[in-house]
């Protein structure tokens, strides 16, 4: 057993900083100020006695008065005419689509309360990202625009229609340009509406642009193969994956789909077949994908181009002009070894790069072509439609507008005043446009510059369709009447262009009847109804063709190397912008679930920051969370610094998507806007820059959850290499040398069910979708930055992220052994680049010998005969003994009445957002403890359904919320009494171990050992 390996959650834990040691002594961050009251002026002054009597008098009076009303009168108001499909108290599910993924929307009594994946969805097979899970909350956001606005004041739709139509007529008469600026539109019907609009107004033009752009890849494919498409990648067909800064498990193109594909070669099933892919990641900042890599090499952004040129050289056996060695000998050697592995896996290899630079992507195309990836791991014939933005067209629009050529502009789901790198240009440009219409659902940064705000429906209120992948068409249907006085953007465009069909639903129907239904073999009304039930049609894939790159690379390599050289401006640090997994491009900044979701890597909530390598921070003498001024491209930003192990030295990473100033109550002024650091070069936006970092001496504390729940250094992670695993599948699972355990308690029967869970650490990528899904299902409150800072976040499931030093071999790091086995050695170690990461979802373990149960003085938490650790909120008196005694630190205390306290108004506590609550789960009051219930409401509902239908409960009939949303299928849940159930099989796996099983608390959740397909050669 590899017990010597040291795992740590944060540098403060590793270095045992005095603050950390002090904080860790206490279960709760702040003690109740009893001593202060007893010792301080509290009792000695004269007021308390009087106050006491006043309070007593008031209390007695109030209680007497309250007792006078015998029964509180609750009104019960039935439907006047009940829709046939609604049964009060029973959920209905409607198929719909979110960003091209087929989803199911759970509605209760006419209001959507949860978004769930459609198990037949082509992309993620029922998995959903954190943003999709959180999207339902946006529907009830009370900072949405509630009425159409003209010049900032509310008006009616008729007035808007009149105004816009007359303006459009005059613009058309004057022959001025009309521009429709959107983030990528991949809905066929919306595209058709826009096309019809352009037919009516021939001076109109549609421009797609994405805040975080993929134009580089699209143009590279145009250049290399004559196909301007974003390819469809098949990570499941790749045995070796090499990524240069592409966060493909998180934010890159289609994270959920790629997660599903990627994990299919690494999960239990694959491992049992003795098969595992290898993933090598070269990147600057630590990304979610980087944390999952088998081998991760930190490189500077400027080294990426050099590394790719070298990789091409090594694979092709030629030498491109201008090639040079990398500064880091290890990385240089690694490139050659990676090339060797890639060539060996020809046809089953995949190289991806996150860069938006056309030349870099052409180089990647050339490499993939050499590796025979086209037709296998890369599909250019069934391309992705998820991103089709054209950066140059947006820049061109702004120039046109500045020249006064544009008469009217329409923004659909586009906010260039926030996410364009030169926001002032947008402001200047829009001043010269007479008709500026935005369909934004908030008065966002762009809407503030527009004269018309025609608020669009939320997608759960809309008809529509989508097509994320060529040949895959999903349908969107409304699940609620519009909450506010909004109108679908498409309807507005139809009305303004005097289309023969003014109603978008009819338009969508017509479009499907004539174009799309037939593709799925459906016809007419019956076909449409089938479609509404299944949610999508799929045309058989075109056979993916093989493509060979045969363009001249010399000039391309030269461009790449020149750009790299420019970036590596001596003496400066290299700045890299990225999207955080929760916040992405910032469009959902007003969603408190996403703001409070700890970033998978940094575990920071409610902020962005400047991530720097620990060595650099030490060199600069910066304190923890010290504010630094990052300056690049003539733009300055002051950000707190975060010491990020794994960050390439000499680089700083900043997340975009923060610093919204007009997002709404929740999202305003959270973090700083990093979009101005972008630049425009060779037709695409660039996400890297050379920058300077200056210390200010100020401290801006970040609410970082990484060390909130401590195990006091006990081993909770078990890890093995693939080589070891192949030799002995139960390696490192703690099964050797089992020690005898003794039980103080009687064993209880589990006569009917024995609910257990298994979590495959090798499948879990740490994305955090389960955290948001759990919040939505179980009415978990959002507490805000301050409270998270006090270690009071309420999430029932958290993802613990552990760092460890790469234990491999006898490699010399800074002249010392790279194998760190003793804490005293850690102190001397200064190289934090080479860390590996394990993610571990941690939730209530439902221990059979639960330590929390024995210490509860009021028996508020007891065990059920089905193996669940039950929590009766109304029995709890809030002693918090259970939280103290829980070795897993999964119990959460309600410090406030979060659902009815004006201090939390910004988050979920208002009459609109409370509509999202799950009526089958109680909201907890101040002063009680809560924790994971294993979605007992779903267990009970599942059992009841079987009872009503008079049949035994089938395995997998219902899923718990975290399991359901997991694209990686890392979580298995079920009845362990049934020997044929998935869970029984999963728990029988040789890799299964239980966290802290030596305590003999007999946890109900089995974890499966993390296996890493490491390479001793690469890391040497």
């Amino acid at each position: 057993m590899d017990s010597n390996k040291k795992y740590w959650k944060g540098l403060e834990e590793l270095n045992k900083t005095p603050e950390f040691v002090e904080k860790n002594k206490h279960e709760f961050a702040e003690p109740i100020p009893i001593e202060e009251i007893l010792s301080g002026g509290g009792l000695s002054s004269k007021t308390p006695r009087r106050d006491f009597l006043k309070a007593l008098g008031f209390g007695v009076g109030a209680v007497t008065l309250a007792a006078c009303q015998k029964v509180p009168v609750h009104k019960s108001i039935p439907y006047l005419i009940k829709p046939e499909e609604v049964t009060i108290g029973v959920a209905n599910y409607y198929s719909s689509t979110f960003e091209g993924s087929a989803i199911l929307v759970k509605t209760r009594d006419g209001r959507p309360i949860k978004v769930e994946g459609n198990p037949n969805d082509l992309l993620s097979k029922g998995g959903l990202s954190a943003s999709a899970q959180a999207s339902v909350l946006d529907l009830y956001d009370n900072s949405r625009v509630k009425d159409p606005k003209q010049n900032g004041s509310d008006t009616g739709w008729e007035q808007i229609d009149q105004f816009v139509k007359s303006q459009l007529a005059s613009v058309a008469a004057a022959g001025k340009k009309i521009r429709i600026i959107t983030s990528t539109v991949h809905s066929p019907s919306t595209q058709a509406v826009i096309a019809d609009f352009i037919t009516k107004y021939p001076t109109a033009k549609h421009t797609n642009y994405d805040a975080v752009s993929y134009t580089g890849i699209i143009q590279a494919n145009q250049n290399s193969f004559g196909k301007a498409v974003l390819p469809h990648y098949n990570f499941d067909k790749a045995d070796i994956i090499v990524s240069f800064g592409a966060d493909f498990l998180g934010t890159w193109i289609s994270g959920e789909e790629f997660t599903r594909q990627y994990v299919s070669n690494r999960n239990n099933k694959s491992l049992e077949a003795k098969k595992m892919s290898r993933h090598i990641q070269f990147e600057s900042g630590m990304s979610l994908t980087g944390t999952n890599a088998d081998v991760r090499m930190p490189i500077k952004p400027s080294e990426e181009g050099v590394a790719l040129v070298n990789l091409y050289n090594a694979i092709s056996g030629t030498t491109l002009p201008g090639s040079k060695k990398l500064a880091n000998a290890n990385t240089d050697k690694a490139i050659v070894l990676v090339a060797k592995e890639l060539v060996a896996a020809k046809g089953k290899a995949l190289v991806v790069a996150g860069s938006n630079d056309v030349a870099t992507q052409i180089l990647v195309n050339a490499i993939n072509s050499l590796l025979g990836s086209y037709g296998t791991t890369i599909d250019l014939d069934n391309p992705s439609r998820q991103y089709a933005g054209n950066d140059a067209e947006l820049v061109e629009f702004i120039n046109e507008a500045k020249r006064g050529e544009v008469g009217a502009v329409f923004f659909i789901d586009a906010n260039p005043a926030y996410d364009y790198y030169m926001a002032n240009d947008v402001k200047e440009a829009l001043k010269k446009v007479s008709l500026k219409v935005t369909f934004a659902d908030h008065v966002d940064e762009t809407a503030a510059l527009c004269n018309i705000v025609a608020p669009n429906h939320h997608y759960l209120e809309s008809w529509g369709d989508d097509s994320a992948i060529e040949g895959y068409y999903t349908v969107m249907q409304p699940t609620i009447n519009p909450v506010y006085n909004t109108r679908q953007a498409e309807t507005s465009l139809l009305i303004w262009s005097d289309n023969a069909v003014k109603d978008y639903y009819t338009y969508v129907r017509n479009n499907w009847n004539t174009n799309l239904l037939a593709k799925g073999g459906l016809t007419g009304q019956a076909g449409w109804e089938t479609l509404l039930q299944t949610g999508f049609v799929k045309v058989a894939d075109v056979a993916a063709g093989t493509y060979t790159f045969n363009k001249d690379l010399n000039a391309v390599a030269q461009t790449v190397l020149n750009n790299s050289a420019k970036l590596a401006d001596g003496g400066k640090v290299e700045l890299q912008m990225y999207q955080s997994v929760a916040m992405r491009d910032g469009k959902r900044a007003n969603n408190p679930w996403l703001q409070e979701l700890p970033d998978p890597v940094s575990k920071v909530t409610w902020d962005n920051f400047a991530a720097m390598a620990p060595a650099d921070i030490k060199k600069m003498g910066l304190d923890e969370f010290e504010v630094v001024i990052v300056e690049a491209n003539g733009h300055k930003l002051s950000l707190p610094v975060l010491s990020q192990p794994g960050q390439a030295p000499g680089t700083v990473s900043v997340a975009v998507g923060y610093g919204r100033t007009a997002a709404g109550l929740v999202g305003n002024n959270v973090g700083k806007n990093a979009y101005p650091f972008h630049s425009f070069r060779n037709g695409t936006f660039q996400t890297t820059a050379s920058a300077t970092v200056k210390a200010t001496g100020d401290i801006f504390p970040l609410s970082q959850t990484q060390t909130h729940h401590s195990y006091e250094g006990r081993t909770v992670i078990r890890e093995a290499s693939f080589k070891e695993y192949v030799k002995n599948p139960s390696v490192n699972s703690g099964k050797e040398g089992e020690h005898q355990t003794f039980s103080l308690w009687d064993e209880y029967e589990r006569p009917a069910y024995n609910w257990k869970m298994a979590i495959d650490l090798n499948a879990c990528t740490g994305c955090g979708a389960c955290v948001v899904a759990c919040s939505a299902e179980n009415n978990i409150p959002v507490v805000g930055k301050e409270e998270v800072g006090r270690r009071r976040e309420m999430h029932w499931i958290r993802i613990d992220r552990y760092y460890s030093f790469n234990q491999n071999g006898e490699a010399k790091v800074d002249g010392r052994s790279g194998k760190v086995t003793q804490e005293k050695e850690i102190d001397k170690l200064e190289n934090f680049d080479n860390v590996s990461v394990v993610h571990q979802p941690m939730l209530c373990q439902h221990c059979d010998h639960a330590p929390c149960e024995t210490v509860c003085p009021v028996l508020a938490t007891v065990h059920s005969s089905e193996g669940l650790n039950q929590m009766a909120y109304n029995r709890c008196v809030g002693t918090r003994y259970c939280a103290n005694n829980c070795p897993y630190k999964v119990r959460r205390f309600n410090w406030f009445n979060y659902w009815n306290d004006s201090r939390f108004d910004n988050y979920l506590n208002n009459e609109h957002t409370q509509l999202v609550l799950n009526p089958d789960v109680t909201t907890r009051f101040r002063g009680v403890m809560e924790k994971c219930s294993m979605c007992v409401q779903r267990i009970q509902a599942g059992k009841l359904k079987a009872k009503i239908e008079k049949r035994p409960l089938a395995d997998g009939e219902f899923k718990v919320a975290c399991q359901q949303t997991c694209s990686a299928n890392a979580i298995v849940f079920g009845n362990a009494n049934d020997p044929n159930s998935e869970i029984s099989k999963a728990l029988k796996s040789e890799r299964t171990y239980y966290v802290l099983e030596e305590l003999n608390v007999q946890p109900g959740i089995g974890y499966q050992v993390k296996v890493r397909n490491t390479s001793s050669e690469l890391q040497a």
């Binding site: 005419i81 108290g89 029973v90 007992v936």
Partner: protein, 428 residues
Amino acid sequence: MRNISLIFKQLTRSILLVAGLAVCGLNAHAQADAAKGEAIFKAKCTACHKIDVRMTGPALGPQLEQETDDAYLTKWIQNNQALIAAKNPKAIKIFNEYNQSNMTVFSELSDADVGNIITYVRADYKKTQAAKAAAPAGGAAGAAAESGPPSNMVIFGLIGVIVIAFIVILVLNKVIATLERLLLRSKGLLIEEEEVTEGEEKTPVDRLAGVKKALKNKKLVFFIIVCGTVAMGSWSWVTMWNTNVHQGYQPVQPIKYSHKLHAGVMKMECQYCHAGAYKSKIASIPSLNVCMNCHRSVKTESPEIHKIYDALGYDPATAKYDSTKAKPIQWVRIHNLPDLAYFNHSQHVKVGNIKCQTCHGQVQTMQEVYQYSPLTMKWCIQCHKRTEVNFKGNAYYDNMIQVHERLKKGEKVTAALLGGIECAKCHY
């Protein structure tokens, strides 16, 4: 003599009876057609027609007054579909007017039957019209008098008047008494009164002495204190345990709906209205379209039913709904389970086969429903401990029964034994 008079009396009675019957019979004979027609009308037509009000079909009185071609009417009533198929213009017109809904075909009615119906309808309509014409003034007065139950203002006003009258009487009494006393004093008769008061003053002294004596008896004092404590204690114990227990709670509902009539007399199934009880956690109060299934034609004149019409924005005269006037009825919830307890009707009604009356009492005998059960956790648990699980024919329990039979060797299996009293069965 007595006998004779008796016989005479009986004789007269029977003669009168026969004579009466004969007269009636004659009358009846004269109206034979209409009476037969009425019988057939009530049996076959009233489901869709009324004489003076439009329902599913037209109001027959005015319709038949307009339409005098009895041959056509007979054809229409016997087989309207044939007329429509033959594209008879009159038939098509009325068919379209009533949303092309088909009238039932009555081919079993003879021409004479139909004639009887027509005669009856015309006669009846004439009668009602005549009655209406005769009493327009009386009708108006009656309508004013009938305008709903007395309002709260009236009731409070009346109570106020009574209270004031009572006070006036009291004051007057007092005044009279004072005046009488003055009168007596002036006559020198007040000494008697004083004597009486002196006599009364002596007795309490004696009584107090008895109390003092009793207080000295320590055993008695102790006994009384113990009794008092026990009484107070048990009273507060019961009160505290029953805090927030609203057994017997019977709020006033916005509509005087009688469960006794619907569920008792009419023997309607509970699920007809509370359809959710079989499917959902909530039994649900019926939406008004359920009421309208019957009350579109039943008791349409009742002011309580008109509350339903008002809520729906329904106009019984035109049978049209105006959703702009609709406003939902706000019933007062009787059974208020706290939010912290999860209760599911379908589990109990559908799976457990529990009768509604077990928890809700004999609702079919209640004019107004009240909370029959205490709805306390103790009450829930007691029932779960006693109630045997209804295994029969439910394959869901197949695996579990075996386990339990092994466990319990034929002992009865209650809900509690299957985990029915564990916290997370109701609290989550």
